[in-house]
Subunit: 220 residues, 2 copies
DNA sequence: CCTACCGATCGGTAGG
DNA sequence: CCTACCGATCGGTAGG
């Protein structure tokens, strides 16, 4: 019996590093060619691994797709949500910061083929029910919920009008990000970022109270 | 030398019918599994044709993809744009009618997997430049231009404020349709149609002049 | 992690 | 439109 737990031996550490490298590349491939276009052979070849060697990490293509979606979610959370959530203060300024970070992320080509989630949700929305479809749909729900909660916080603080529907506001802000992504990726139209940001700002202004408008002016 | 032109002999007529049937099914498959997921073997099998028999209609997969995109555009034009364009009068009511028709189309499952274009543009936006990417991007541009022109007409008629940017308005209205489609297809959330329509209406109201508001009230 | 292999399917061709 | 075929690649397995 070995004295060290597998978790701490050299092989496991090396294995984790390989696993991480695989998934980072898998997310990039999937962002370009989709979760179905992410093939085991291509992923392995690009990393200098054998197909079966890579396959052993996941056991099935479905598991690879699930792990890839999970890795993308972790990157998005680190890159966009966490830096803003770390700000102590809920409110309209935090919602604006989240939207700003999101726009930067959409422009910044964090993934090789643009936003993994916008691409993946368009891809899997026609798939039959199953773990991958559920995972992607759940990740989008989580994002929509963050937007809604941040809007709800701003409303509760009196920065957005008391009679607004936070979910409706979140729906519209989310829509602007999607449209921004499409114009940028499909038409390579960089003015889309101005259009998207302008749309978000004027939409927020519409629902803002005088106190909220003050917050928006500061954030600008 | 045959006496009749090929265009009028029985084979050609039968061939056209087959061609049409192939493309109608191709659009459905592509709306579910994408233009890459549209395979010649599967398309042929579903129609009771041999692979090579079907292949002879197009000559390459790329040609099949281009023809499929063209067929989808023709269906969309017939179903959504033409009925509204046939109305003589440009103006805000016509823009509202176009948006209404679009929402009905998005809900109506005209294609098996939802809007072919929203799916196709998310798919090809990561492809290298080429005829298929160009064709899909061009079709989206045409739609964006129709929205923009209708908004511009309404502005010229004094129904929308003179200082608005029709392209910005079109961008936002388009965004709401995309978000509607995603919520419906990914989350199977039928309330998305209310959200989308509500977003469109209030967005139009924001830019409308008093004359425009009267048109909106009539259209409601 | 590897080599070597499986049956199925891919886009495409030859020849009729 | 067909049968018969090509090389490449797919997801996955056996065995180490």
């Amino acid at each position: 019996m070995p004295t060290a737990e597998p978790r701490f031996d050299g092989r496991r550490v090396r294995g984790d590093r390989t696993h991480h490298a695989i998934l980072r590349r898998a997310v990039d491939i999937a962002s370009v060619d989709g979760l179905e276009g992410l093939t085991i052979g291509r992923l392995a070849g690009g990393l200098g691994l054998s197909k079966s060697g890579l396959f052993a990490h996941f056991g099935s293509k479905e598991e690879l797709q699930l792990s890839t979606a999970g890795a993308a979610a972790a990157i998005f959370a680190d890159e966009v949500v966490a830096p803003v959530a770390a700000r102590a203060e809920p409110g309209l300024a935090r919602l604006v910061a989240l939207l700003d970070g999101w726009c930067d992320y959409l422009r910044g080509d964090v993934f090789a083929g643009g936003c993994f989630f916008i691409a993946a949700s368009a891809e899997v929305d026609g798939w039959p029910d199953g773990p991958v479809r559920d995972a992607v749909a759940g990740q989008m729900r989580r994002w929509e919920r963050v937007l809604t909660e941040y809007a709800e916080d701003a409303r509760r603080r009196g920065e957005l009008a008391p009679d607004i529907d936070p979910a409706q506001l979140a729906f519209e802000l989310d829509a602007f990000g999607m449209a921004m992504n499409r114009a940028w990726r499909l038409h390579r139209d960089a003015t889309a970022f101005d259009r998207g940001r302008c749309a978000m700002r004027s939409r927020l202004e519409r629902d803002a109270t005088p106190a909220g408008r003050a917050s928006l002016a500061v954030a600008a």
